[in-house]
């Protein structure tokens, strides 16, 4: 496949707050038409990074480039980027339409065109009838849409969204996520989407950028990241399963002894010597219940605890040694039942 053209490049950006470094030489690229999701825990510097890209805050070191050109001398208002703020930052002294038209007015477009395009943008987010309302009278979801319309109306060459769905309820979030994805796909505008919510990230992103310790720890399509989280932190942050400590007892095929028993992890690394400690990931699914323990590995015995109905399945926890493994069942099992489960070959992954 041909390499798609990079529009935005963040190169070795450093930033500290009150002495503690927040961004430690973070680097990544964004291709044309791509939606990348910056995913990381709260306080990992994601919002700060967006402000640096927008030019609202200076980086201490490093560069932000647009189509190969350093943006350092370009003022925020000359960058042509759109930024949708956390909690929206709508102008309280302006009506809905005036908020949306703001960026167009800044381009000194004719009045008529400004109005037409602002109304278009409002219509696109489904708020055509709201133009004369005061933004302070809107609900959270409506404010979110106005903020999105405001950011989209000037047709920015890059759209940045900072936790845009942060404080909304679930139903509204799902609906707005779908809207967002539709609008972004329609526009082909490259987008950077910041969130700490993995479901949101999976729903919207072409590519995930996982930020930890001020750097991109893992980058890839959601499928790639899920197939191979690469780092223990990523697996944990994405809640992909349980991390298990184990020691290599055979190199080829790889077998490792853990408190859960002998496990046969999938491994992309070249070689692990016998006696080396590994961190393994035991994924949540898929599992089968083993009535008779015939196999020598990937079989976990334990006591069932906490069974809860999930609509299409039952979520149960298996207590085994010091670990608590969550797994899904098609039929309920009474808590306290002793059980052996068989982990599928792809369910055990070697992380180190």
């Amino acid at each position: 496949m041909r390499e798609v053209s990079t529009v935005l490049e963040v190169r070795e950006v450093w930033k500290s707050y009150e002495g503690a470094s927040l961004l430690r030489g973070i680097s990544f690229r964004l291709a044309h038409g791509e939606t990348a999701c910056l995913l990381g825990p709260s306080g990992s510097g994601k919002s700060t990074l967006l402000r640096i890209i927008a030019g609202l805050e200076p980086a201490e070191a490093g560069q932000v480039l647009w189509e190969g050109e350093d943006l350092a001398p370009v003022a925020p208002h000359a960058r042509g980027f759109g930024l949708m703020f956390q909690e929206y930052a709508l102008f309280p002294h302006r009506s809905v339409l005036e908020n949306v038209a703001f960026g167009l007015r800044m381009q000194n477009l004719p009045k008529a065109e400004t109005e037409i395009r602002a109304r278009e943008a409002l219509a696109r987010v489904g708020l055509a009838d709201f133009s004369q309302r005061k933004v302070t009278d809107l609900s959270g979801g409506e404010q979110q849409r106005v903020a999105l319309a405001r950011a989209l109306a000037p047709r920015p060459r890059l759209l940045m969204l900072d936790e845009p769905l942060g404080s909304l309820d679930r139903g509204l979030r799902d609906q707005l996520l779908a809207d967002l994805r539709r609008i972004l796909a329609l526009d082909g505008t490259p987008a950077l989407y910041v969130t700490h919510d993995q479901e949101e990230a999976l729903a919207i992103a072409d590519r995930l950028l996982l930020i930890h310790d001020g750097q991109v720890q893992r980058s890839g399509t959601p499928a790639e990241v899920y197939a191979d989280p690469g780092e223990a932190w990523v697996a944990q942050f994405l809640d992909m399963g349980t991390l298990v400590q184990a020691r290599v007892i055979r190199s080829s095929p790889l077998r490792a002894q853990s408190e859960l028993g002998i496990l046969a992890p999938r491994c992309t690394h070249t070689h692990h010597a016998v006696g080396v400690n590994l961190t393994l990931l035991v994924r949540r699914a898929p599992l089968t219940i083993e009535r008779t323990a015939r196999r020598r590995y990937n079989v976990v015995c334990g006591i069932v605890q906490e069974v809860s109905f999930r609509g299409d399945s039952y979520r149960a926890t298996l207590n085994s040694s010091t670990y608590r493994l969550p797994f899904d069942l098609t039929h309920p099992v009474a808590p306290g039942t002793a059980l052996s489960i068989h982990l599928a070959p792809e369910a055990v992954l070697c992380l180190t």
Binding site: E57, A75, P76, H77, E87, A89, F91, H93, M106
Partner: protein, 573 residues
């Protein structure tokens, strides 16, 4: 009306609200009625009854002071904002070393008594000031080369010096509470810094800017001590004219007419203000204040910050430093010493304050004035807060009724202090209200002056508290009083301490009303300074300097103490 009646739930809610507002406003309104409207009414009645015998009034004796008052107030306000607005921006948005100290310093001149400001400018630029004495020593001239005192420039400089703090406080506070992301949003949407300021910052700050404009203008409009002591006989504002007519020329009808005009002017201004500013108290989270301010990052910002800090320092510190230094410098021979004296340091001006001389201006050592002033100031803080807090919390929930009350509460601000004092003297010296001998008379007068400031400081802070916080507290079982104590009070604690600082320092510095109300044997510090300054001789001048320096120190101490007294844990909201 019928439409309103149809909305039953809201209507009944509103009725309950205004009943509460009314209860909260009973005390402040009673206070105003008794100590503001009643004395004013008495003055007018007196002057009208006297008007029959009076000779016809010359129009120029009315219009000349009025014209000059408006002219100098407009000029002063313009100059004050040219310094104050950049300063407010600096304080709201940037962290820099010495910010706290500079903030305290910028408050100091505002709260300093007009007499101190007058003495300070005198010590710097007056005929006996540093500059003139220095130039005389250099050139050997026997006449002061710089004529500053008794010029319009002296009045303007003192007004800028005096009122910059109003802009810094009112606009700076609002600016600090403005969500910086709004400007960021405008910038990302393509607005240049100037455009973002004009389209976003300015409209959102407009209520506070208008409030500050009105306050500064009213201040300059009713300025008394500064004009009297720095402007000299050529420049008479309405206030000075009232004072001169009432006290020196004993022309009460003309004084009453002048004060009537002044009240009309200020009433017009406040009504205009109430129309212009439908107070959009933008509900921004209090925490935004801290997130918003950062160190100046770019070289240009740093340069601008340094230049601005420098300008504020020179403007605000130079006269005060000149005053303090001049009070311990012996540069001229004393009264008793006819021969030339070697220049040097001296504490004799201070020592003299503790001496009860036979030929002195008072029956007590001058230092007793300090004790009097402190007592009055504490009483004023108590009275002004006791009245201002309920008034502000009633006004924070805007209603039509509240608007009118707000305008009423602002009235004493624009009313000539001399008129207030005169009103006290003529109205409160006979039954049913004979307070002539009461020690409360002075703090009552001071509270009247301080109340508008207290309300203006508290009300925006109270209005910025999201209603849902109160609702949350109420659903958690807090009674209305508990809600006020647990939610409102901690959030407005800073505003309360600022309000207390205002009340305290206004009381310490009040001159116009006090000059009429204070009993001769209980002089306040400003009165003492004024008497010293109006006497000839180097020793009297020196004592005025020493006293003014003491008052400056006391005021600074008062501010520091109040800043410290902020409730623990809420200092950094």
């Amino acid at each position: 009306m019928m439409v309103r009646a149809a909305r039953v739930p809201q209507a009944s809610l509103g009725a309950g609200g205004s009943r509460r507002s009314f209860l909260l406003l009973v005390l402040p309104l009673a206070f105003l009625a008794l100590f503001f409207f009643y004395p004013l009414f008495t003055i007018l009645r007196l002057s009208l009854s006297a008007a029959g015998e009076a000779q016809p009034l010359a129009l120029s004796s009315v219009f000349r002071p009025l014209g000059f008052t408006l002219w100098q107030a407009a000029l002063s306000t313009l100059l004050t904002f040219m310094v104050g607005l950049p300063g407010a921006y600096l304080f709201a948005r940037f962290e820099f070393p010495g910010k706290r100290v500079l903030r305290a310093l910028t408050t100091l001149p505002f709260v300093l008594p007009t007499v101190v400001v007058a003495v300070a400018f005198n010590a710097l630029l007056g005929p006996r000031g540093w500059l003139n004495l220095g130039l005389m020593a250099l050139s050997g001239a026997s006449v002061p080369p710089i004529q500053f005192i008794n010029t319009l420039w002296a009045i303007l400089a003192a007004h800028v010096f005096y009122n910059t703090a109003v802009v810094l406080r009112l606009v700076g506070n609002a600016w600090a509470h403005l969500d910086p992301r709004l400007v960021h949003a405008a910038r990302v949407l393509g607005a240049s810094p100037w455009r973002a300021w004009r389209e976003v910052t300015l409209p959102l700050l407009r209520p506070s800017i208008v409030a500050a404009l009105v306050l500064v203008f009213l201040f300059d409009f009713s300025s008394f001590g500064v004009v009297l002591m720095l402007g000299g006989p050529r420049f008479a504002t309405l206030e000075v004219a009232i004072y001169t007519q009432a006290l020196h020329l004993l022309n009460l009808p003309l004084a009453a007419l002048l004060s009537l005009i002044q009240i009309a002017c200020t009433l017009t201004l406040t009504t205009l203000y109430a129309r212009l500013a439908p107070r959009v108290s933008s509900p921004s989270a209090p925490r935004a204040a801290q997130e918003a301010s950062q160190r100046p990052a770019t070289p240009r910002q740093r340069l601008a910050a340094v230049a601005l800090v420098g300008l504020l320092l020179v403007l605000l510190v130079a006269p005060l430093a000149a005053l303090a230094a001049r009070s311990i410098a012996r540069l001229e021979p004393d009264r008793a010493q006819r021969t030339s004296v070697s220049a040097g340091l001296t504490l004799s001006y201070y020592r003299e304050l503790f001496v009860n001389r036979h030929e002195a201006l008072f029956y007590v050592p001058p230092i007793a004035a300090v004790r009097n002033s402190l007592g009055y100031a504490v009483a004023t803080v108590i009275i002004a807060l006791a009245l201002g807090l309920p008034a502000a919390s009633a006004l924070a929930r805007t209603s039509r009724f509240g608007r009118q009350v707000d305008a009423l509460l602002m009235l004493p601000l624009g009313t000539s202090a001399v008129t207030l004092g005169l009103g006290f003297v003529v109205a409160l010296d006979s039954p049913p209200l004979d307070l002539r001998a009461s020690p409360l008379l002075v703090p009552l007068a001071h509270s009247l002056v301080a109340l508008p400031f207290v309300v203006r400081t508290l009300q925006p802070a109270l209005a910025s508290i999201p209603e849902r916080l109160r609702m949350a507290a109420a659903t958690l079982g807090a009674s209305p009083w508990r809600v006020w104590r647990e939610v409102d009070l901690p959030i407005v604690a800073r505003a309360v301490s600022v309000a207390a600082a205002f009340a305290f320092t206004i009381s310490m510095g009040e001159f116009g009303a006090t000059s009429l109300v204070a009993r001769p044997e209980y002089p306040t510090v400003p009165i003492a300074i004024f008497r010293f300054l109006s006497q000839p001789g180097a020793l009297n001048y020196g004592q005025a300097l020493a006293m003014a320096t003491l008052l400056m120190g006391l005021t600074l101490a008062g501010i520091l103490v109040i800043e410290r007294l902020r409730l623990p844990g809420v200092g950094e909201f």
